[in-house]
Symmetry: C2
Subunit: 237 residues, 2 copies
Amino acid sequence: MNIETPLWRQVRAAIVAEIAAGEFPPGTPLPAEKLLAERFACAIGTIRRATDGLVAEGVLSRQQGRGTFVAQHTSERLFRFFHLRQPDGTAELPRTEFLDFTRRIADAEQAAALNLAPGAPLLRARHLQHLAGRPAMLEKLWLAEALFPGLDGPRFAGRAGTVYDLYQREFGISVTRIDEQLRAAIPNARNAERLGLRAGEPALFIRRIAFAVDGRPVELRLAWADTRELAYFNSRA
Amino acid sequence: MNIETPLWRQVRAAIVAEIAAGEFPPGTPLPAEKLLAERFACAIGTIRRATDGLVAEGVLSRQQGRGTFVAQHTSERLFRFFHLRQPDGTAELPRTEFLDFTRRIADAEQAAALNLAPGAPLLRARHLQHLAGRPAMLEKLWLAEALFPGLDGPRFAGRAGTVYDLYQREFGISVTRIDEQLRAAIPNARNAERLGLRAGEPALFIRRIAFAVDGRPVELRLAWADTRELAYFNSRA
DNA sequence: TTCGATTTGTTCGTATGTATT
DNA sequence: TAATACATACGAACAAATCGA
């Protein structure tokens, strides 16, 4: 009789939808498993099954005795998406130098990446990430204006934490997945100079699309990383 | 009374140890969950809990109605560790051109990477991966001779499937995790010529350490990838 | 500090559905 | 068709961590 999707998937989807809708602001606890089980008219084990994957993905965080919390984009969480490290693997928090913030119009590639119509209004920010006191990565990022109403340079530059923390706390957008493409290339003179590279020296070019918890693409980011002293770390099991 | 590690972790470790010891050759089914539950004197749910993570990591593969199998390094499995793709994301099976196979002695860095003493005997292989009919990645890899007794050039070059498939089927070593460091750099003239790069053109330099199911490092691999037409794909949730 | 209520973590057992052989 | 094996779902009990009275 049951050829439909499993109950635990339905429950998972419902919880994700509620998080995406901002029902549970980041940092706040979900209802206790017992309550969720009552609400969804299922067993606690089914709730566990539904949330296990979200915990593994970092969307939720469970703490024995306390509750299950919607994960915040704190500094630890940053390292899930920040791959630049010292060769010995030392993870360090980058310092961000704001460069500029402007309004733009989506070209074909940007529109495709963000699932928008070409010509849609975009917000573009640029900044420079410093590690070990030196410029390490030059980033340019685009956002659909419709998803970030009222965001401007001062608000972007004056944020307290990470960029994704800003998205999450002020616009209810939780980035939970990123897709990246990496290439080795030679940046133009302006970009090379910003990174302290000599002419003809290569850098790592990174194209990232960030997705919200509901799967929508929300940010396109192009970056140049100086990998003379640093390396991009990737681990796969 | 129970400050010890959870039962499901003990069971997991036991299963991993048996796989690492070659008790269940790749492709063969594990004992049914009911049998495992009897053997470990626990509930079936505990067996599930123990194997869930291994399934997620690709070490095991469960099929309803058939059984739970030790994963083989088939071509699909390859793409877990092979990140070079066309910019549109098209995944293609590389063609491998064997270059050479030699005996070496571990220097300090190789020894550290493979958890050996400096001076330990190594095997070194080089090959060239082709994609879309063009050279795409030049790889140099080192193995501890002690872990691969009797491996030589003909056996390495004459293998049927992937390198990791060879490790697994002929030496009982299942690679389940890799750590990679990526940099942009300019290869020397010899390497550039092999990849069809002009002088001064950059390539992606990849340093990989591969780990067996029991966590031991088993392979060090240095690679130059041509990212003019291809890109290194990475996705993180 | 102690204690009790709450919440997640672990483990058990059972029943039924679905896919494979 | 029947037996086998995994998939889903339910429910219960106790342990361990947390927090407030």
